[in-house]
Amino acid sequence: MLDQAIFYLFAGIAVVSAILTVTRRNAVHSAIFLITALLATAGIFLQLRAEFLFIVQIILYVGGIMVLFVFVIMLVNLDVAVRQMQFARQKWVALLISLALAAQVGLMLWSSRKVPGHGVPVLNAVPADKLPPNTEAVAQSLFSSYLLPFEIASVLLLVAMIGAVVMAKKRT
């Protein structure tokens, strides 16, 4: 019961603020609403007993990425951008098509609900008390079975770093 309440609350926030994100004229406002959406998602994570991810979401996204965004928005002079038109002229067609796609996929998901377990092999989730303490578990698998992705991620981030530097570096 509580679960549901929490879920719907956060889900509602997430969706609404997501919509606002893509509809606000002002990029700063979009950023703000994006943060809201991400926070709501974090709430969902929590509802799903993924505490570690919840933290990461808040720290990394909200703390890191969004700061970057806002920073860049400030860098590129905003007031001009705001005054320009914010939506591509094809927006209606685009909207139409996106919604059609949404309907299509939604229908697939909806129709597959008839299948037990929504078409997913397991019928119902492990009871919450059977779950291992989340952070340890994540750490466990991160450094045992997902060691390699961890290493690759370092390379990935290195590349990102180099890239950002190369790109943003003042021209010599």
Binding site: M85, A88, R89, Q90, W92, V93, I97, L101
Partner: protein, 703 residues
């Protein structure tokens, strides 16, 4: 026993002499002096005449039943096994071989003899012309081809000669190739002949598949069984009842071959080339277009007489075409003013006579007339040439006249020839023509009537020619007047010899009814196929005398009429012409046949060519090639401007739609990036829809 002897074993030398000299002339004749040229060329023809004589003598030494000498030099065309019409496989071979039998005896003698005389004549006639060596080279080449034609032992080799003479006539007609009319005439002659040749080839092919061989006969060969000939095969088929007289295949063969004959021998409908051929030098007209080449058709039909005799229908066709041509050409000859044109038409008409004879089954008579005609027509042409020579190139008889005393030899010999062709006994023409008419009567009186009228017309136009040319006052301009002179001896001597021949030449065929014993016919007996039913019916001699008298009468009448018109001038021909102007004009324009042919066939063919060329350029290339190219380019432009036309079109449509829904829309140019992104979404949607639908069909087995 088959006749043997040096000459018979070296038959191949007869055509070889002219060939060698011809090659000599054409390769390095330019460096030779005229004297040497004439010695070589005339000498070579003389040599082959001598060899021909020798060969004939040695042949005559044998008994009549096996008077045939045949020798195969090598296998020429051996394309491998051929499926004959009776389901046998035969190893088809066309060998390079020569056959001398009575028929080819006559031909080879006529060709070499007359040819020899004409060569001599040409020395004088062509003396002043440029390209002397070229002329004689062509003439010798012609002799070679003609001899190959008459000596060939199979149809294909005969065809070689056939085409060869055609080529030489093309070259010689076009000898003055600077004159467009000349080269045109040459081309016309060749192409018209070519049409006939097509028929000939088909005839050969049909013969080949029907009889499995194209060798005329195996007579005179060492191993008769090994390589049999048409004659033997035909007999075999008859005895085996696989073929009967009048079998359609035989008729087809006969008719196809006859198409070839009409081409070469200038019969309706393919005679049109011969009058134009008079563009050539006069000796050429004499040799090729009077004495020898044009008679090739006759010779060929006689060669294949076995088949013709078994194809009555074809015989009728031959007879009708022959007689038709005879009168048709004669009528045209009535009004011509060009001396050579008159002779040309008379040649056509005489050839018509020969075919009439063949059609009537009188093969010997046909050959007989061929020979006599060779004599007097050659004489006439050479005489005409001498006249033209005297008149310094003038050919229109209306500009001549009163030459009788100025060029006596020419005039007298010409007169003899005229008598001969008019059929006045006892000159050569009389016997041959009379025999033809007689046999024609037996075949069908109508044939005789037409031939009879033609005889009269012949007498008329020939004497018209004589009177207008040689008698009366001269109508030539005085410049020409001064130069009138008798031709040199090289030209007159042949005239005299030919004149003698035109007189006595006919006597070897002195008919029994006049106490003679038609030697000529007996001589040709062996080569005339006798299986057919056309036995020479014992004729009641009174009727024969009647016919004889009639033909003499009509000839005299024609002569008298010509005299009244053109000598005594008792009636003016202009009046007649005036009275029936239309008919006269038609005659004068030779029935407009050339024009009709041009309008109906020649130009239409050219138009077709143009049309098809256009078709290539426009349709096949236009639609086929460039069309696809265009399509590709179009397609690429399409996909290139996919954004602009499709996406934007979609957008505009959406915009319009939303506008209709009264949503304010500001038009700005499309954002490329979002277009791409949108395309990705669309693709995603499409793939999803497709895959879902596909699985729906597969898994629900529906739709």
């Amino acid at each position: 026993m088959t006749p043997t002897g040096y000459f018979l074993e070296h038959l191949w030398l007869i055509p070889l002499f002219p060939l060698v000299t011809a090659a000599l002339m054409l390769l390095l004749g330019r460096r030779l002096p005229n004297g040497a040229v004439s010695v070589f060329c005339v000498g070579s023809v003389g040599a082959s005449f001598a060899f021909a004589l020798g060969a004939v003598m040695q042949l005559l030494s044998a008994g009549p039943e096996n008077r045939a000498a045949q020798q195969i030099l090598f296998e020429w065309l051996t394309p491998g096994p051929m499926l004959a019409s009776n389901g046998h496989l035969v190893r088809f071979t066309a060998d390079w071989g020569y056959l001398l039998d009575p028929l080819s005896c006559v031909m080879v003698l006529v060709v070499t003899g007359v040819g020899f005389l004409i060569h001599i004549y040409s020395i004088g006639y062509m003396g002043h012309e440029g390209g002397y060596y070229r002329f004689f080279g062509y003439m010798n080449l012609f002799m070679f081809s003609m001899l190959t034609l008459v000596l060939a032992n199979n149809m294909l080799l005969m065809f070689v000669g056939w085409e060869g003479v055609g080529l030489c006539s093309y070259l010689l007609i076009g000898f003055y190739f600077l004159k467009k009319s000349a080269s045109d005439a040459g081309k016309k002659a060749f192409i018209v002949n070519r049409i006939g040749d097509a028929g000939f080839i088909l005839g050969i092919l049909l013969t080949a598949v029907t009889f499995g061989t194209i060798r005329f006969t195996s007579a005179g060969l060492a191993d008769v069984a090994a390589n049999s000939g048409i004659l033997q095969a035909l007999n075999g088929a008859l005895s085996a009842q696989t073929l009967a007289a009048g079998a359609p295949v035989l008729t087809t063969i006969a008719l196809l071959l006859f198409v070839g004959a009409t081409g070469k021998s200038a019969q309706i409908p393919l005679y049109v080339w011969l009058p134009d051929a008079m563009e050539g030098p006069t000796p050429v007209s004499a040799l090729i277009h009077a004495a020898t080449m044009v008679t090739a058709g006759v010779y060929m039909v006689v060669r294949m007489n076995a088949i013709y005799q078994l194809a009555p229908l074809a015989m009728d066709v031959v007879a009708v075409v022959g007689v038709g041509t005879a009168i048709f050409a004669a009528s045209m000859a009535l009004v011509q003013n060009d001396i050579k044109k008159v002779l040309a038409y008379s040649t056509i008409s005489q050839l018509g006579y020969m075919f009439l004879a063949l059609g009537a089954g009188a093969f010997a008579a046909g050959i007989f007339h061929l020979m006599t005609h060779a004599f007097f027509k050659a004489l006439l042409f050479l005489g005409a040439g001498s006249v033209i020579h005297a008149m310094s190139g003038e050919q229109d008889i209306q500009k001549m006249g009163g030459l009788w005393n100025k060029i006596p030899v020419t005039a007298k010999t010409f007169f003899v020839a005229t008598l001969a062709i008019a059929g006045i006994p006892p000159l050569a023409g009389f016997f041959s023509k009379d025999e033809i008419l007689g046999r024609a009567y037996e075949r069908h009186p109508a044939l005789w009537v037409v031939g009879f009228i033609t005889a009269g017309m012949t007498a008329f136009y020939m004497f018209r020619l004589v009177f207008v040319t040689f008698f009366g006052y001269s109508r030539a301009d005085d410049h020409a007047q001064k130069h009138i002179h008798e031709s040199p001896q090289t030209m007159t001597i042949p005239l005299v010899i030919l004149a003698v021949l035109s007189v006595v030449g006919g006597w070897i065929g002195w008919p029994p009814s006049l106490g003679g014993s038609n030697q000529f016919e007996k001589f040709l007996e062996p080569v005339i196929f006798s299986a057919g039913s056309t036995e020479a019916a014992p004729q009641s001699s009174p009727r024969e005398y009647l016919l004889m008298l009639a033909s003499i009468a009509i000839a005299v009448a024609g002569i008298w009429l010509a005299y009244e018109f053109y000598r005594a001038k008792r009636f003016a021909p202009e009046l007649i012409a005036g009275k029936m102007r239309g008919f006269y004009r038609v005659l004068f324009h030779k029935y407009y046949v050339d024009e009709i042919y041009d309008a109906l066939l020649v130009n239409r063919t050219k138009d077709l060519g143009t049309l098809l060329g256009q078709f290539d350029a426009k349709v096949i290339d236009g639609i086929g090639v460039d069309g696809t190219g265009w399509l590709a380019r179009f397609g690429s432009t399409l996909s290139m401007w996919w954004d602009k036309w499709i996406i934007d079109g979609l957008l505009n449509f959406g915009a319009k739609l939303t506008q209709l829904l009264s949503f304010p829309i500001r038009f700005l140019q499309t954002g490329t990036f979002s277009t791409y992104a949108l395309l990705i979404l669309i693709g995603l949607a499409i793939l999803l829809a497709y895959y879902q639908q596909h699985l729906h069909v597969v898994l629900r087995g529906a739709r």
